[in-house]
């Protein structure tokens, strides 16, 4: 207890590992998400999954996120969101370790403990699946050496098949083709944008929606603002929109406790504000990629 905030770690945060860190290439596609990255960092330092480990790799983890975002293109919204959630949790945990410990009394501490346990649990769960996935991969590779028989029927048997009664007009057939070739809608309740080159959700549009609501209502919680979001992507887009609006000083935000309710207040009164002006950086990221598609960038890759 008492003064020592490092009673279980000495001075662990100062360990030098510059050249070791250099061995990791900063490319998002090296990792299958934030857990993969976190596990890589933990195993690089030969640590177990503990609070120390998390505190220790926090800076590196955040360093990688910075590098990813700087690298730009491949870091899409939905990928970023989960990285950020985990980075935020790690930062909280690290900050908590730097404070005098002892009284786990108030709600903040409890929330932090819960967040930590949840992170441990999810990390361990992911680790288990990662190991199992490796086993499955090995097994699949071994089995790939066995080929089943997959050949057409011998002619004598093929001749026994009932004759096809297929009759159809060319236009009926074309209708079937049109339907079959139509791009299918993603299955309901979830909107995947991983495969798209342009975000399906515009931050500007979301800012516009939020702006309207806040002007009308004055104060709304983030939960209320995202109640109708329908997908994670929209939630993230709305969150980004809030950050932009905060920068524009048209809203204020208030959060009583970590992970607590986030209250958003319209602070610009009747001031003239338009969502148009906040969205440039998102548009800039998007449009060159779309142009490239139009020029046949996709085709090149496919062929």
């Amino acid at each position: 207890m008492g003064q020592d905030a490092h009673d279980d770690g000495g001075a662990p945060l100062a360990l030098p590992e510059p050249e070791k860190a250099g061995r990791f290439e900063v490319r998002l596609d090296n990792f299958n998400g934030p857990f993969d990255l976190l596990l890589s960092l933990i195993s690089k330092h030969e640590l177990n999954i503990t609070e120390i480990a998390l505190a220790k790799v926090t800076d590196e983890f955040i360093g990688y996120i910075r590098a990813f975002s700087a690298a730009g293109d491949s870091f899409s919204l939905d990928e970023a969101s989960e990285f950020l959630v985990i980075a935020a949790t790690l930062l909280d945990l690290k900050a908590a370790r730097l404070l005098p410990s002892g009284e786990v009394e108030d709600e903040e501490d409890i929330a932090l403990l819960e967040a930590r346990d949840l992170l441990f649990a999810r990390l361990l769960q992911y680790k288990a699946f990662k190991e199992i996935a490796r086993q499955l991969g090995t097994r699949l590779a071994e089995e790939a050496g066995r080929f089943p028989r997959e050949v057409a029927l011998e002619p004598r048997l093929a001749a026994m098949m009932p004759e096809l009664t297929w009759r159809m007009s060319p236009s009926d057939f074309a209708a079937i083709a049109a339907k079959a070739l139509e791009p299918r809608e993603p299955a309901p309740t979830e909107v995947g944008i991983g495969h798209l080159h342009a975000p399906a959700v515009s931050v500007r549009e979301q800012a516009d929606i939020i702006g309207h609501r806040l002007r009308e209502q004055g104060v709304l919680s983030f939960r209320q603002l995202t109640a109708d979001a329908g997908s994670l992507v929209v939630v993230v887009a709305r969150f980004l929109a809030l950050l932009e609006m905060f920068r524009d000083m048209v809203i204020t935000m208030d959060q009583a406790a970590p992970l607590g309710e986030l209250t958003v207040r319209w602070s610009a009164g009747e001031r003239d504000w338009s969502a148009e002006r906040i969205s440039e950086e998102y548009d800039q990221d998007v449009s060159p990629v779309m142009d490239e598609n139009a020029e046949g960038g996709v085709r090149d890759r496919a062929n």
């Binding site: 998400g33 992911y126 190991e131 996935a133 991969g137 699949l140 089995e143 066995r146 299955a187 939630v235």
Partner: protein, 219 residues
């Protein structure tokens, strides 16, 4: 069109409509008949399907399969002096709930040259992890798989569906979300009989039996 009357010895008279002559009396008997059917199957065939086609009791089919499997593996249970014989290049395996002929893996390099289209590309790490989560948590929604892996899995799931390894098997009655599960092809590719034959996940999950509860809290 029917070859039905090619009764080898001629004594076996008119087989009525659709009926099969007594296979047990044909040269090679039930095992040979089973072998013939196995040559034309496109997916593992169940003992019941074989029994129906052959019009013999399932038990006879099971005996024939056991005998054939041993023979192809190089053991003969037949004849006055049972003993090892040549191991064959063909293997009879019980996978995904049925029986099917496969080439032996020793000959993968040779056989691979003749299989033009059958060699599917290997799965990426992301695909394997997603496949693992679906296999162990099925039926499971994409959002839940996303929560476990920490990334969006929509396009990976789509790829797995296209490759026939997973399929949408149900709909969540509450959320309406599509629930995914593994297919018989998945079992076949792994060379196992059922999902229950998958290696146990628990040794990798020390003390975290209740993790399911955490999945939904992510976002």
């Amino acid at each position: 069109m029917t070859e039905r009357t090619e009764t080898p010895d001629g004594t076996r008279g008119e087989p009525g409509e659709g009926s099969v002559t007594d296979v047990a009396s044909l040269p090679g008997g039930v095992p040979a008949a089973v072998e013939a059917v196995l040559l034309v199957v496109e997916e593992p065939v169940t003992e019941m399907q074989l029994a129906t086609a052959l019009e013999v009791p399932v038990q006879q089919v099971q005996e024939a399969l056991a005998e054939l499997m041993a023979e192809y593996d190089g053991y003969t249970g037949q004849g006055p002096e049972p003993g090892p014989t040549r191991r064959r290049g063909i293997e009879l395996r019980n996978v995904a709930g049925g029986w099917r002929f496969y080439t032996r893996s020793e000959f993968a390099a040779v056989v691979g040259r003749f299989v033009l289209d059958g060699q599917s590309a290997r799965l990426s790490q992301a695909a394997l992890e997603t496949l693992a989560v679906i296999a162990y948590r099925q039926p499971v929604s994409r959002s839940r798989v996303s929560a476990i892996r920490g990334v969006n899995v929509d396009s990976v799931v789509r790829t797995l569906v296209q490759r026939g390894l997973v399929a949408d098997v149900a709909t969540d009655p509450e959320t309406g979300a599509v629930l995914y599960g593994t297919t018989p092809l998945f079992l076949e590719r792994l060379g196992i009989g059922t999902v229950a034959d998958l290696p146990k996940l628990s040794p990798h999950l020390p003390g975290l039996e209740n993790l399911q509860d955490f999945d939904h809290t992510t976002y």
